[in-house]
Amino acid sequence: MAVRIEKDGAPGYALTTLESLIAWGRKYSLYPFTFATACCGIEVMGAFGTHYDLSRFGAEVVRFSPRQADVLLVAGTINYKMAPVLKRIYDQMLEPKWVISMGACACSGGFYNNYTVLQGIDKIVPVDVYIPGCPPNPEGIIDAVVRIQKIIETGAPRAADRWPIK
């Protein structure tokens, strides 16, 4: 995107493509849907809270309806009872959509390796950004949002395009 402003202060013009204009608009109006099931959800609250303030990055309008959201933020353990619910919520979201997997549990099952815990949500939904940690700090969430913005800005392929991984 190229911007030109006249020397005398008169309004100039900007050159861009439609795609990058849309990407620019999307980038700063991400609506996250927080699928917070467990301890990581507390840190999600912290990220939206006063100290870390995720809204500085244009992602503060939390939607509790998947149909209005762009980013699915899965924070916490997903077990086999919950897995169909998560899948359904993902399917309900409109394209384009991105998925952040927050915390060791959502990424890989974490230190729960037993009969009930799903060993990573990427077994059932495509994941764009993983945040390590148990729980990750709120900075981790902010970083993940910025990475999603990068994906949007550069037009990099989403995980859903490579799904399912063979």
């Binding site: 507390i42 809270g49 509790f64």
Partner: protein, 405 residues
């Protein structure tokens, strides 16, 4: 096309009492804190029947702990009630110490009291804050989030993590308090928390909308609360002054001067008031505990339970072997069974532990305070409006981590 309703059929008055409506709430719903689910049978907006369902966060705590050593269970206990993990650590350590017959040092007892009360405060803050968010009063949540962050900074300093603390060890703690920590605790307890409590108090306690919305909502009588096994603030709001800190004083709670607030009607408003007062009482306890905090070591002096210090491990073969056995096999705990209860933020947190000797538990059952509370929800809201369900659910403070384990 829908059939037009013939209102003359019933003598001119329309029949509004049609079939009861079945509605599903959750498990992914902003007001159910993500993992709870209800199936409600409604007549208009009145709840005729309510079936709670949970298990959406069942993580197999018991199965995991049966495969771990005694010390390895500590991190799992963090994840039970993740809003106040330090209190779970204390509860678990006390249960194992009871089994081993360990008498921990005085300093450790005081430290455990301080961290428990700090956790109680932040737990109540989340409870009230999210309850108010569900009712549409978002501001209170931000007001309470600020002191919470301050307390998190203190906890991070103490054990290196904000949330998953794993601070206690069998016979002591992970480390002694950092230098100057108690002063910073006092600064937060004097400078930040009372102000925020006062702010929220000013916003809510005499607020007409708040009172209309919570008074008489989700009430329970003392008798029913006892029969259902309620404990903690929900029981005290119903007028039963059961608090294990007074009734079965553990640690050093008998050395402090504090009061147990109780309510009358057991409704949402009373639960809120009880929690607010408990936070103030916890501040009192912290003040006294820090004033009385004795010096000395935090760990007991017993090589059977406490890891040898790092200098010894690196310089002494016996200590190195000891360290190795400790980590690989775990602490040796005698065979037997104990039940040890502490007063957590939500009520009685009990650990029933069976040991058959050896390095790990044979069975650990947690008695989570939320479990009976959640069971009692239908009792609290039957006959009330569907919107009252949201207010009630927030005020009893169900934490899915310890409900499902």
């Amino acid at each position: 096309m829908a059939e037009p309703v013939d209102i003359t059929a019933n003598g001119g008055t329309p029949d509004l009492q049609a079939e009861p409506m079945l509605i599903n709430i959750g498990p992914s719903h902003p007001a159910t804190h993500a993992t709870l689910r209800f199936q409600a049978k409604l007549d208009g907006e009145t709840i005729l029947d309510l079936v709670p369902e949970f298990g959406y966060l069942h993580r197999g705590f018991e199965k995991e702990s049966e495969a771990a050593t005694w010390t390895q269970v500590v991190p799992y206990t963090d994840r039970l009630n993740y809003v106040s993990p330090l209190m779970n650590n204390v509860g678990y350590a006390m249960a194992v110490e009871k089994l081993c017959g360990i008498e921990i040092t005085d300093r450790c007892k005081y430290v455990r009291v301080i961290i428990s009360e700090l956790s109680r405060i932040i737990d109540h803050m989340v409870c009230i804050g999210t309850n108010m968010v569900d009712l549409g009063a978002l501001t209170n949540f931000w007001y309470f989030w600020k002191p919470r962050e301050e307390v998190y900074f203190l906890i991070e300093e103490l054990c290196g993590q904000r949330l998953t603390t794993s601070y206690t060890r069998i016979g002591g703690a992970m480390a002694d308090l950092p230098a100057g920590w108690t002063d910073r605790v006092l600064a937060v307890c004097r400078g930040v928390i009372p102000e925020c409590i006062a702010d929220v108090n000013a916003l809510l306690t005499k607020n007409r909308i708040f009172i209309e919305r919570t008074m008489g909502v989700g009430p329970i009588t003392a008798k029913d609360a006892i029969a259902l096994g309620f404990t903690g603030p929900c029981l005290r709001a119903a007028g039963v002054p059961l608090d294990l800190r007074k009734d079965e004083p553990y640690l050093v709670y008998d050395r402090f001067d504090f009061d147990i607030p109780i309510g009358e009607a057991g409704d949402t408003c009373d639960r809120y008031l009880v929690r607010m007062e408990e936070m103030r009482q916890s501040l009192r306890i912290i003040e006294q505990a820090i004033a009385q905090l004795p010096g000395g070591p935090i760990d007991i002096d017993d090589p059977r339970f406490i890891l040898p210090s790092k200098e010894l491990v690196y310089g002494n073969i016996e200590a190195l072997m000891n360290h190795f056995k400790f980590i690989m096999e775990g602490v040796k705990v005698p065979a037997g069974e104990v039940y040890s209860a502490t007063e957590a933020a939500n009520g009685e947190l009990g650990f029933y532990i069976v040991s058959r000797g050896g390095g790990g538990p044979y069975k650990i059952k947690v008695r989570p305070p939320c479990f009976p509370l959640f069971q009692g929800i239908p009792h609290l809201v039957k006959g009330q409006m569907i919107a009252d369900l949201i207010a009630t659910l927030g005020s009893v403070n169900i934490i899915a981590g310890e409900l499902d384990r």
